[in-house]
Amino acid sequence: MGKVARLARERSAPGQLVTIRGIRNGLLFVLAEDATIAELIDELERLLQGSEREGVGETAGVTAYVDPGARRLTDDECDLLRGILTGKGNLVVKGFAGPPAALEESVKQPYIYKGTVRSGQVIEHDGDVVVVGDVNAGGRVIAAGDVVVMGHLRGFAQAGAAGDAAAVVAAVYFEPLQVSIGDVTRRAPERPSRGAEMEFAYLEGADMAVERMAMLGQHRARSAARRARHSPGER
């Protein structure tokens, strides 16, 4: 995603009408709330000019998301914006409701690490991580998605490292020093692991809870329902 990051860096500055941000799945176009649609269209045209000149420019094929802020876009306005983004930038417009929920858009293959993550070692991946082995005290696993340990989790696990509060940390023997999900970090529960029964940690608002693995399906359904209620939905 080098080109995307470059575009985002070169062409956005604070106070602009349109701010382009590189996100995991593509580009996010953040529209200033106090600008008129006409101003925004002008600004987008200006920003995407280079891409057009370069033909199959650097944004060609890249997925775009539009973040309209608090404003409500009419269907016509959406069509106008889509026209510019696809026409001038060759972008694939995925939605007008802000950045995608990380879980739904997680396209990355899970990373499967076979072996012991020992003290001082860090396993980091932009998606789910499965450790087939132990994570020892002092070892770290950091995942944009879920962390699943098929052994003892004695060290540090961070799920949803890019902000996904719906991510979970699961382990057969759940005895971590610390667990982070999204931006919430908690010390280990001061109780012996039930052992031989897989458990996972998840966020309940700002609280972290630990539950038997068998409950993961229900947890997923609950958080999906909650997300559907709170987001305006794609158009």
Binding site: T116, R118, S119, G120, Q121, G133, D134, N136, A137, G138, G139, H152, R154
Partner: protein, 264 residues
């Protein structure tokens, strides 16, 4: 061609030097040609434990910097003709022994000996990297304490990076009574955390301290428990399937360990 084995631990004072001296002497006792190399520059101990301090003329840094030839620095043991020590320097700069120089020295030693035993300094900095760089195999020493096990785990990770794939574990200073009362990590727990092959367990034994003060490795006294443990370790390195010793009156205390005994 001999094998170079580094004895390392991460944490200090857990018994690297004691283990080097005793395993080296035990292998010599079994007729193997052994050279022990002390890489703990500035804190050399192996010569003291072996009772060879007064014979040092040159040291490993002299060899590394070309002040002395390898043969001039190697000290023959008092008891065995085929046991040698290459002592560490006591006063010179730690950085004077480089990875390259260590490689050269070990490459010269390996054809002359069955085993080159490298006593590693504590820590994971320069001295550790030098000691480990020339080794084919590693013995990781730990004690039944959380901190020592944690450091051993860190070191095992670093050994993997250095392409020393499956180190062997020695658990030193075990006290059966404390293990039984739950005041000490038990062997199963330690092996479980570190997931390594167990090469041996050595009891906490006052003979070890007495022997070190007399410059006579414990392993030469057949009546001490630590001596038997170190002899067993040497036999396992030579490939003999020696069961773990029963440290406890309670029969079967270590029986479940059988399947985990690692053989060199």
């Amino acid at each position: 061609m001999g094998e170079a084995i580094v004895v390392t631990s991460g944490k200090g004072g857990v018994g690297k030097t004691t283990s080097s001296a005793n395993i080296g002497t035990a292998l010599a006792l079994m007729g193997k040609k052994v050279c022990m190399v002390d890489t703990d520059i500035g804190l050399r101990n192996l010569d003291v434990v072996m009772g060879l301090e007064n014979r040092i003329l040159f040291d490993i840094v002299d060899v590394a910097t070309g002040q002395a030839r390898l043969e001039q620095a190697m000290i023959k043991d008092k008891r065995f003709d085929h046991l040698f020590l290459l002592p560490a320097a006591q006063t010179k700069d730690k950085l004077a022994l480089s990875v390259d120089a260590m490689h050269k020295i070990v490459r010269l030693l390996k054809p002359q000996f069955d085993f080159v035993l490298i006593d590693c300094p504590a820590g994971i900095e320069h001295g550790f990297r030098v000691a480990v760089s020339a080794a084919d195999q590693a013995i990781v020493v730990t004690t039944p304490e959380q901190a020592a096990v944690r450091d051993a785990d860190r070191v095992i990770g670093l050994l993997e990076k250095e392409q020393i794939p499956s180190p062997k574990l020695v658990i030193n200073r075990i006290r059966p009574s404390m293990v039984r009362s739950g005041d000490m990590l038990d062997i199963d727990d330690i092996v479980g955390i570190l997931s390594l092959d167990l090469l041996g367990i050595v009891p906490d034994d006052e003979h070890v301290i007495k022997a070190a003060n007399q410059g006579e490795p414990t392993v030469l006294r057949p009546d001490s428990r630590a001596s038997i443990a170190y002899r067993n370790i040497a036999r396992r390195i030579l490939g003999e399937p020696v069961p773990l010793m029963n440290l406890d009156e309670e029969a079967g205390f270590f029986r479940k360990m059988w399947k985990r005994i690692g053989l060199g």
